[in-house]
Subunit: 422 residues, 2 copies
């Protein structure tokens, strides 16, 4: 009986980000069983994480329990556990609670903040990859304003009200814009001794322009829009040191209590335990079918993989790419588990670029969809629309609309809580 070919096959998926979750949602081969493993219980809508860091949204509005998303997928088991290592020869993954055997392994462990050889900077300039990161940033920025209100030394007040964002990619641009709005509009009338609108927000980028992945005119437009919000943009500027009191940019020193690192993403350090070829950022150099070299039953998708697709394009480290890669792997495995003469050879992955966008602030954004470029309000509207469509869960969509409408019209931010103080 050919149906038996799939029976009892075990597929282990590591990571419940966009890649891992999409695989579980798309994979539909009767009989095979899927185990999804993540050390967090929630799927995080990463593109809006900067809104949590800047007190615009609450964690629960951009995150959803993985179990809840997959509760109607009878063949999927979700485990909250941590990956310790791999034995690719034995087809086993070691978790902290047990060892899992697999027939297929899908590695979707995502990325981590990379400090380019300066891990000691993490202490002074948090990255933004998890909810806990975002809550840490929110707490530190809001506390800096509180401490400035209590401070009498004007130099120290200036230092407390200076925020430096390192990295001019989408995350850095979004953070810098949101901090400027927070200071200039939201907090403006809340303090008695300090004037929050005097806060200084600096965006530092090592390359010649911000949003380097977009055409030059959109980069220029984004910079103009940021400057209109009061952000100082420093391109071709390298960070040479970061410590508690400030940041060194070559010969220039900025006294700043608040530094955020949005400059580098590396693959999960677990990729080093695979014993397969990696690039400088620790990403697996996958085959055209997204399998790991030498292990046809092991796939890697999303930020842990690097590949030039069948059209010769470098696949970017964005969520649509991770989702498309996961869909491709699901189809390849379904095909092989289908059994019999229906099995075709594996096909190469092709990335379909649906467009790219970055938001800067209230009514300010840049977007490119195919050959069409937008700036300002129209780009901001499409950004809003696209992010709402992809936000998982109806209730989240609805409360996020309410939050955004409220922030937009009242210039208030509802999530200005300092938690975890001790």
């Amino acid at each position: 009986m050919e149906a038996n070919v799939t029976a009892g096959k075990e597929i282990v998926v590591l990571g419940a980000g966009f890649g891992g979750l999409t695989f579980c949602q798309k994979f539909a081969s009767a009989g095979a069983h899927v185990t999804l493993i993540d050390r967090q219980n929630h799927h995080l809508f990463q593109p809006l994480l900067y809104q949590v860091a800047t007190a615009g949204l609450s964690p629960a509005e951009i995150a959803q329990p993985v179990r809840s998303i997959l509760s109607d997928k009878e063949n999927v088991t979700v485990l909250l556990d941590e990956v310790l290592g791999f034995d690719l020869a034995k087809k086993e993954v070691a978790l902290s609670h047990k060892t899992m055997r697999y027939d297929y392994l899908v590695i979707a462990l995502g990325g981590v903040t990379s400090y380019f050889g300066h891990p000691e900077w993490e202490k002074f300039a948090p990255g933004l990859k998890s909810i806990d990161d975002a809550l840490r940033i929110r707490r530190e920025i809001l506390l800096a304003f509180e401490h400035a209100e209590l401070e009498t030394d004007p130099e120290r007040v200036k230092q407390l009200l200076t925020i430096v964002v390192v990295g001019g990619g989408p995350t850095g641009v979004e953070l810098a814009g949101a901090f400027a709005e927070l200071a200039r509009h939201v907090l403006r009338s809340d303090f008695r001794h300090i004037d929050p609108s005097k806060a200084r927000v600096v965006l530092v980028e090592a390359g010649p322009r911000i949003l380097g992945h977009l055409p030059e005119d959109l980069s220029a437009s984004a910079q103009r829009q940021l400057e209109d919000l009061g952000v100082e943009v420093r391109t071709s500027t390298r960070v040479t040191d970061i410590h508690a009191e400030g940041i060194q940019l070559g010969v220039e020193y900025i006294a700043a209590a608040n530094k955020i690192w949005a400059a580098g993403v590396g693959a999960s350090p677990l990729t080093a335990k695979l014993g397969v070829p990696l690039d400088r950022a620790g990403r697996i150099q996958v085959q055209p079918d997204l399998s790991v070299p030498g292990h046809a039953e092991v796939f890697a998708v999303g930020d842990v993989a690097t590949i030039i697709d069948a059209n010769g394009r470098v696949v970017p480290g964005v969520s649509p790419a991770a989702m498309q890669m996961a869909g491709h792997v699901a189809r390849e495995i379904e095909n092989e588990l289908g059994g019999g003469e229906g099995i075709r050879a594996r096909s190469p992955f092709v990335y379909w670029d649906k467009g790219t966008m970055a938001t800067i602030g209230r009514s300010a954004a840049v977007a490119m969809i195919g050959p069409v470029k937008f700036s300002g309000f129209m780009a901001w509207l499409s950004w809003l629309f696209v992010h709402l469509i992809f936000l998982i869960g109806f209730k989240n969509k609805f409360t996020v609309i309410v939050q955004w409408a409220y922030s937009y019209f009242a210039y208030k931010r509802g999530a200005r809580l300092i938690t975890g103080l001790r």
Copy 2:
């Protein structure tokens, strides 16, 4: 010029709970300046804190930045700082950043969880007073279900799925009901190895009945409604020991990974630094006008004060009482600052009981408004209505309605996040 009498007068308010905040909102004496001090930046809507602990609401939905609430009160300064001690003779309060001199002092520091001489139980049975407490409870309960899913020993699974709530007051009743709903309805189809609806929720009360402040028939009704949800109610049962693995109730031992302490509230330990008479729970035994004995310019309101009002009633430790006390103090100080012949003698505080209620679950509650008693759906509707009216901030009201409607119809809870794992 009589107007000058108030000029430059400094009123220091300690604590931004219901008492301190209400004082700042009601006090309206031109010229006098008010400084509100709290170590948290947010006012917390305590009556709904149990909803955060049970994953129904997000922290930002029941908390609001104090600065934001008071931003249009020009004569109020908000400081994020911690009270270290008092010098009542010198009329000074020592904060960690500076020392404040006052003409009037309003102590509204609220309560803390009291373990009745067993502080070592705190480690195993968290109380519920702050957002961080609620997030800790949410994390521990959700993790227990996750660990049960990974566990193979059936005894250990039972232990992980047992929740004991200590204290049959409103908070304990609300927590027990919400945990039972979480296990029986919300999480029901999310797991593959365990059956969350088999989770055991036990509510332990030392007195002869739960909700002892309500008439007997309402206590009985509340107990029936809890039992309908599957909660085991143990009255006349004393806790004799709590440790990591379980809880000892006299001769009975319950193996339980999850214990919550909702049994005791004491005044803020800072009252001990005042050098004035306190009751056993550390509350200040205030005068009829709510001033501290021997210090007519120092008032205490809310959970730090204990008083039998002019009608001979013990004023209960609930938020309406704290708000009424704060309003009384505001009027007394306004009167004295008014100056000249208009000054009347101080008047005694009279508590106006607007009713009392406790919710148990979806469509389940008990309420008493004046002589009228409600049970079940009608009580639940009035509970909903009253809590929404008093929830500070329009946006919060609106998103809370959305959350509740969603939870009610979909039997899902949106805030099931495990954060702060390491």
